[in-house]
């Protein structure tokens, strides 16, 4: 057995294709790591700047109601996006935290405006290089493994020895995998060295575990392509036919199928839930609006001078601007619809001082009802967002899994935490943070405080607000998300190996 492996290994290592393979992989991985590293550093700088700016902006607000649009949370770039970019760069990374809506991916905007024309160029991450090059190399190593020996007649020679056929196959497999590991590991080492020498990236132990997961998935992927090649090689008698078939299979699986299926899936008709859900949400807000008006009408102090606009200033002697906004068309999410009144820091005239408690009362009521309405709209909005955005995207992803490329991509994305779920983690943290802020406001009775709308007696204390912090999910969760795809890859490996074994054992030499 060992002699067989050694023989195969030497055979493979001394070839031109091996040298070329190592060279090309190294070149591409290193070049792209440098590009991606630079890109990551730029994104990190933009992130830090945005965090600082939003921190400052919030502190400039003197009243609590001024936090609308100023309490902004930024999503940090993921250092593992260098391995698989996934959705990390694609979706929004700046999200407002406000009690009048539940933040989701689709409400996020983007900080850091680099030249958007540069989006014309695709970013190539390390997994993409492996996807293209290593699969090709695996096929190049495999196509003549059996057909070649068959042609040259050496297979007959080997089989005259008292060795089981299974051993020969295993020896071939192990030695080829060892050879393929060399470019994979060397290039990964180089890129990790580049990463660790960069001052901006700090990888934790968990990150190394995740990288380990990516390596393991890469191994399964390469092995699968090697087995595909071996299978073709076992089925065909001539190397030239095997090679041709291998190349077409590669072209179909790697190049054509993923793009073809994603282009085709675009024309699948989308569910028409948008408008109905939007109207439903609108109705809920209109109901709130009615209750709001009712409240004002029943109040002896707040009415007759009706709430809003100039009347407000006249009625209460409040010097400030009141604003009402409904649907904000600039927001990316089509289902975002909210109604909110707010009041910017103002001085309160002495003559309206006695009315202040009633106004406080009003805001206490209004904000409480707003938060309840948000809760109700969220029950409708959440499934609608799922249906409009997530389901079509998941359909595409599911169809992609028919190609090993899709499985590999999905599994490495999950390891890197740049998949949809990884990004959703961030937004659910933001949702929890919004809840915490609202609870804090309730606890401290801020909604019905004077500081909500006026800054003359004490200003808002932003430092006491709960702080936002986001930790990427721990490795266990990454592993759990990557596991199904990895298992599928493994199953395909095992099935193919069995098939090859059967073909090889039955084949006549």
């Amino acid at each position: 057995m060992m002699t067989l492996i050694r023989r195969e290994l030497l055979d493979n290592l001394m070839t031109f294709r091996f040298a070329a393979a190592v060279f090309i992989t190294l070149l591409l991985v290193v070049a792209n790591t440098i590009v991606l590293l630079k890109d990551y550093e730029q994104r990190l700088t933009a992130y830090n700047k945005a965090v600082k700016e939003s921190h400052q902006e919030l502190r400039e607000k003197k009243t609590y109601s001024g936090y609308a649009g100023a309490l902004v949370v930024q999503r940090p770039p993921n250092p593992l996006s260098i391995f698989n970019l996934g959705l990390d760069k694609q979706v929004g990374n700046k999200i407002e935290v406000y009690h009048a809506f539940v933040p989701t991916i689709w409400d996020a905007e983007k900080h850091g405006a680099d030249n958007p024309f540069l989006n014309l160029f695709t970013s190539i991450d390390i997994v993409l290089v492996f996807q293209g090059v290593l699969s090709l190399l695996a096929l190049i190593f495999a196509y003549d493994a059996l057909a070649g020996e068959h042609e040259r007649g050496t297979l007959r020679l080997v089989l005259t020895h008292p060795i089981q056929r299974g051993y020969i196959l295993c020896a071939k497999y192990i030695s080829a995998m060892l050879c393929l590991l060399v470019p994979l590991l060397i290039s990964l080492f180089l890129s990790i060295i580049l990463l660790t020498t960069s001052a901006t990236i700090s990888l934790s132990t968990d990150d190394f575990l995740r990288i380990g997961g990516i390596v393991l998935t890469s191994l399964l992927y390469v092995s699968l392509f090697y087995l595909i090649g071996l299978c073709i090689s076992a089925m065909t008698r001539r190397t030239s036919t095997a090679l041709m078939l291998c190349m077409f299979v590669w072209g179909c699986l790697v190049l054509v199928y993923p793009n073809l299926i994603l282009t085709a899936v675009d024309i699948v008709p989308q569910p028409e839930t948008q408008t109905s859900v939007y109207n439903q949400i609108k109705q809920m807000w209109e109901k709130l609006d009615k209750e709001d008006k009712q409240f004002i009408r029943n109040d002896a102090v707040l009415s007759p001078p009706s709430r809003g606009g100039e009347d407000m200033a006249a009625g209460f002697g409040l010097e400030g601007v009141e604003y009402t906004f409904w649907k904000d068309e600039d927001k990316p999410s089509i289902l975002l619809y909210f109604h909110q009144t707010g009041l910017y820091a103002g001085k309160i005239g002495a003559e309206s001082e006695p009315q202040v408690p009633r106004v406080q009362d009003y805001y206490g009521f209004y904000n409480r009802e707003t938060i309840n309405t948000v809760q109700r709209t969220w029950l409708v909005r959440k499934p609608a967002l799922e249906a409009i955005y997530v389901q079509p995207a998941n359909l595409g992803r599911m169809l992609l899994r028919f190609s090993p490329v899709g499985l590999y991509d999905a599994a490495t994305e999950a390891w890197a935490g740049t998949d949809l779920e990884g990004i959703q983690d961030f937004f659910s943290t933001v949702q929890r943070y919004r809840r915490a802020v609202v609870d804090y406001f309730y606890d401290k009775k801020i909604f019905e405080s004077r500081q909500w709308f006026a800054a003359d007696k004490g200003t808002a204390d932003w430092d006491a607000l709960p702080q936002f912090s986001f930790q990427r999910s721990d490795t266990g969760i990454n592993a759990k998300r990557a596991l199904p795809d990895m298992l599928l890859l493994l199953t395909m490996n095992v099935i193919l190996f069995t098939v090859i074994m059967l073909i090889f054992i039955k084949s006549e030499v």
Partner: protein, 465 residues
């Protein structure tokens, strides 16, 4: 020569690779046609609705001051009917420009200036990344791969079988053999390609939703021509490597590695590296420049305005201020846009080392999509903006009763403007301009082909049999 070509052709037609290539190309091209038929009418409808709305708003204005202050609304880029032949990343480019004026309090309103929205990628999009299946994809990736698969063993394979010696024993000059082989491969790759193209066009032209006119058919012809030139490049590369290498397996390995690095990875990696050479101003720096310019203008006009009490003089100064503000801000925006564009253009220039980038640029240009088309659109917009300004000035001059102070309501003509007189934006494309843009790429591609072909010839002449 024809004899050799014919022999090659028959050899290829019976081979597995020919069948596989045909199936692959047909599947891709048919998908492309079906997707285009589904998507294009929607795209056109969206464009027409938006353009019509903006035009209606424009022509509903009859007051000259309104027209001068609000400007020509949004101007939309007309989608190309040849979108199926090259997508060109149109989804990542902005589809309109906007004549915007700033909100200001008081009766002095700011005048319009052309703004160029940045091409924000769709943030809602959480789909996995994919390249659109268009002709450009089929040609630059699939066709080139097929070309290599058809030629990698053209010479090395014959040498391995010993048939090369046999052939060269005949009184045929070597270059004839080479050209024969080239022609044979060229025709045999072209058969499935042309069939696939024809099927694609058949599906597209039978539908009533998409209409192609004569000039578009001409453009399609040019695109097919470019595809053939590009195909020859890869055939020549295949012959060159095949002539230099003894074993066909090694030849294919070399070719595939060249292909993967040049076609799949090089253009994007190089572009990303090259885009750092001449970075555009950051958005913040641009905003800072705008603020400073605005302040500078205000510092000039504000003291003048407060120094005088004469209302007519005040009006003149206000008019000048408003015009200057709009001109300077418009100029800054245009400069910023051209900085960004030159950054991308430089990056794209460097990617021309890779033939696939050249081919894709060419296909985009002739399909009327992509960056070149966007630049044309911006140029059209700027021409139109000039025309619009002239129209305002001319209408103003034509009214003898007006005090001729552009920028203030009371200073401008009160006469009603007829909707027919307002110039209308037309987003035109001209084939001769496209040729100018494409000339360098075309020459470069031809140069590549010639160099590789002569390389293949030299290599083949020196082959020892």
């Amino acid at each position: 020569m024809w004899h050799i070509a014919k022999r090659e052709l028959y050899d290829n037609l019976n081979s597995l690779r020919f069948a596989l290539a045909t199936v692959l190309l047909l599947a891709l091209m048919l998908t492309n046609a079906v997707v285009h038929l589904r998507e294009h009418p929607v795209r056109m409808q969206k464009y027409r609705d938006a353009a019509m709305e903006s035009l209606n708003t424009l022509t509903s204005r009859t007051d000259l001051y309104d027209l001068a202050q609000k400007g020509p609304e949004k101007l939309y880029k007309k989608p190309s009917p040849l979108h199926f032949s090259a997508d060109g990343g149109d989804g990542l480019l902005p589809a309109f420009t906007h004549a915007a004026s700033h909100f200001r309090g008081g009766d002095l309103k700011s005048f319009w200036r052309m703004t160029y929205p940045s091409a924000t990628p769709n943030l809602k999009n959480i789909d996995p990344d994919a390249t659109k299946i268009d002709w450009a994809f089929v040609i630059s990736y699939v066709l080139s791969l097929i070309a290599l698969l058809f030629t990698f063993d053209a010479i090395s394979g014959e040498r391995e079988h010993g048939t090369l010696r046999l052939m060269l024993a005949n009184p045929i000059p070597r270059h004839t053999v080479l050209i024969g082989k080239f022609l044979g491969a060229f025709i045999s790759v072209n058969i499935p390609f042309v069939i696939a193209v024809l099927m694609n066009l058949l599906v597209i032209s039978t539908s009533s939703a998409v209409h192609l006119d004569a000039s578009e058919w001409g453009r399609l012809g040019i695109i097919v021509g470019i595809a053939m030139l590009y195909l020859s490049l890869f055939l020549a590369l295949g012959l060159l490597v095949s002539a230099r290498v003894r074993q066909s397996a090694v030849s294919l390995v070399i070719l595939l590695l060249i292909w993967v690095s040049f076609v799949v990875f090089m253009p994007n990696t190089l572009a990303s590296i090259a885009s750092d050479f001449s970075p555009a101003r950051s958005y913040d720096a641009f905003q800072e420049d705008r603020r400073q310019t605005r302040r500078a203008i205000l510092e000039v006009y504000y003291p003048q305005l407060s120094a005088t009490d004469d209302p007519s003089k005040k009006m003149v100064i206000s008019g000048e201020y408003v015009t200057e503000d709009a001109t300077q801000d418009g100029r800054l925006r245009q400069e910023y846009l051209s900085e960004r564009i030159s950054q991308v253009s430089q990056a794209r220039t460097i990617t021309r080392i890779s033939p696939v980038a050249i081919a894709q640029h060419l296909l985009e240009v002739f399909a009327g999509t992509g960056l070149a088309r966007h630049l044309q659109f911006v140029e059209n917009v700027q021409l139109y903006a000039r025309e619009y300004h002239e129209f305002i000035a001319d209408t103003e001059r034509a009214d003898p009763e007006s005090p001729h102070i552009i920028g203030v309501r009371d200073g401008m003509s009160k006469k009603e403007v007829s909707p027919e007189a307002i110039p209308i934006f037309e987003d035109t494309l001209s084939l001769s301009k496209d040729f100018n843009v494409a000339a360098m790429d075309l020459l470069l591609l031809t140069l590549f082909v010639v160099v590789l072909l002569s390389g293949a010839y030299l290599a083949f002449v020196r082959v020892e049999v």
